[in-house]
Symmetry: C2
Subunit: 191 residues, 2 copies
């Protein structure tokens, strides 16, 4: 029974994530989440009191998931700086290509949508996620003996975020390749 | 009378832009646009048939405006590459700092919000705007005798877009400064 409950909870969170990601938070209704999860609205409300509650659950779950995805990306990265950068952006490009109707980076999208609500929990969760990714990158670069790893990690974050926005706008992977190339030159540029 | 009509039209477009920018397209109602423009809903509907019509008008107007803003930014830029980059990002930082409750870059925001509607006119207008900015930057860099100006312009676009997203997420200008610094090193990195 307990198992069943956890499965249902997960099904709701998965459906909500898909809906929020594709259509945005505002545009998503509890009805559309119920449809996607193949559950009744009543069942959803027995787990989550409101759409905001559900958003918090989705963000926390995907923060954990994003952490696991980083480890997975890290496992596939070679140890040399050039190979590391290449692998990082190639995995990003594969994620974009493998997702039908890719709708942009999830955390950034939610923050952009909720930007007019400065105290919204989505912002602090997104901020934490970005900071975690930046630190993770800096540690990797440091192990690979790249000079000024914290500065280079920040620049790679900028190029990655920029490439996600411009890939969404232009609809092709030119910008991911350009970000990879720029990152490779920056890690050799000293300071 | 004709003058009055144009003024009213402009007042509606200005109010709609402010509303869309701050709250997003979906969240904005014709009522809230009417409130901000201090006009009746009826007047608004006598100019624009729907919120989508109004969005197209807002985007076209702001595409023109963005062109003028680029010329203005260009006028203030020194001719040397380093000074050019510095001025470009400093003007960006001043725009962010001077705007109370800055809500992110307008065109990118709308595309992110409307990403699930691939044929939406907002996307082609945003794409055109980004392409214009990139070409404009490449021409400036070329005049300043920077090597590979098209490649460098693309990288500066990536860093600028990334800095807008991360400034919105983190709430401080660290990322604009980092983007400026990376751009300066990239224009010296050759190819």
């Amino acid at each position: 029974m307990r198992m069943k409950t956890e499965q249902t909870r997960q099904r709701i969170v998965d459906a909500a994530y898909q809906c929020f990601w594709r259509s945005g938070f505002t545009r998503t209704s509890i009805d559309s989440i119920a449809d996607r999860a193949k559950l009744t609205k009543r069942t959803i409300y027995s787990y989550y009191q409101s759409k905001d509650d559900l958003l918090a659950a989705v963000l926390n779950y995907h923060n954990d998931l994003a952490g696991k995805r980083l480890s997975h990306i890290g496992d596939q990265m070679p140890a040399d700086p050039d190979g590391m950068i290449e692998s990082f952006f190639d995995q990003l490009a594969r994620w974009v290509a493998a997702t039908p109707r890719w709708a942009g980076p999830g955390f950034t999208k939610l923050v952009v949508e909720l930007a007019h609500l400065p105290g919204h929990p989505a912002r602090s969760i997104a901020r934490r996620h970005k900071a975690t990714t930046e630190t993770w990158l800096a540690e990797r670069l440091s192990k690979a003996k790249v000079a000024f790893p914290a500065e280079r990690a920040r620049e790679i974050m900028l190029l990655m975020e920029g490439s996600m926005a411009l890939t969404l706008i232009h609809g092709n992977r030119t910008y991911i390749d350009a970000a990879k190339d720029a990152s490779r030159r920056l890690i050799k540029s000293g300071k």
